[in-house]
Symmetry: C2
DNA sequence: TATCATACCTCGAAATTCTATGTATGTCAA
DNA sequence: TTGACATACATAGAATTTCGAGGTATGATA
C-alpha cells in the first residue's frame, strides 16, 4: 500500500493560518480541508504534534476557551517569533517551489 | 540538529530529467545542483535508492557505458510506464503546489 | 605514489506523517 | 434513556522518506 500524496510543509501551513486569526486545532483541519485538494489533507495525528512543537519553541501560545457546546477549545496565537518563522518558511517554500518547477516544466512530455 | 530544507518529490525530479535524455546518477546530481537552490540538493544517499526503485517497478531501464575516463557509467532510460508515471506525478505536484500556495499567499505578514 | 575527481553503492539514524485508537462533552433522534 | 453522532483534543506505534557517513573502484595529475 503506497501513499498517494503526502502532506508536507505542515508547519508553514499552520503558521500561515494563524497569521490571520487565532484558531483551534479542529478548526484548522476544517479550514485546510476546504483549501487543500481532496487527495491530501491535514490529519489530526499530524497537526496536534506540530502545534505542540510550535508552542514548545515559542512560535505560538495557547489558551483555552469554552465553546457554546462540546469540549472547550484550545486556541493558538502566533507570537512575534512565529511571525519571523512564518516569513522564513514562506521564502523557503517559494525557493523550493521555483526550483522544482524549473525542473518539472522543462520535462518533455512526448 | 534540525533539517533546514528537505528534498521531496524526488522521483518526480528524476523522471523529469530523464524525459529529456538518458542520464547517469552522478550527472543527475550535478544537473539538479545547478537548478536547485543551494539550500537543498539531491544527495547520493537519496538518489541511488530511488533509481533502483524506479527500475524495479519498470519506470526506467539501465545500461552501462564506458566513459573516457574513470568508472563506467550507468545510464538510465525512461520507459513508457515511466512517462505515464511522470505525467501522474507532475499533475499531483501542480495540485499540491496550488493548494499550499493558496494558503500561504493568504497569510497576513504584519 | 599519493591525492583528487569521478562514479557507484549501502547501512542505520533521524525526521515526518499516517493509522488507529482513546478520551471527553454535548446534542438529537428513536 | 440510550445510542449514535459530531465536536475536540491527544498519543503511541508503524510506515515512509531522506540524510549522513562511510565504503569501493578507476584513472588522471601533481
Amino acid at each position: 500500500m503506497k501513499r498517494k500524496q503526502v502532506m508536507a510543509h505542515t508547519s508553514l501551513l499552520v503558521l500561515a493560518l494563524l497569521s490571520a486569526e487565532d484558531m483551534y486545532g479542529y478548526q484548522m483541519i476544517a479550514a485546510l480541508s476546504g483549501k487543500l485538494d481532496s487527495t491530501f489533507a491535514m490529519k489530526e495525528g499530524t497537526l496536534y504534534p506540530i502545534l505542540h512543537a510550535l508552542e514548545n519553541d515559542g512560535s505560538v501560545t495557547s489558551y483555552e476557551k469554552e465553546a457554546a457546546a462540546g469540549k472547550p477549545r484550545k486556541y493558538y496565537h502566533l507570537t512575534m517569533k512565529g511571525k519571523l518563522q512564518l516569513r522564513e518558511e514562506q521564502s523557503q517554500w517559494r525557493a523550493y517551489q521555483r526550483a522544482v518547477d524549473a525542473v518539472v516544466s522543462s520535462a518533455v512530455l512526448a
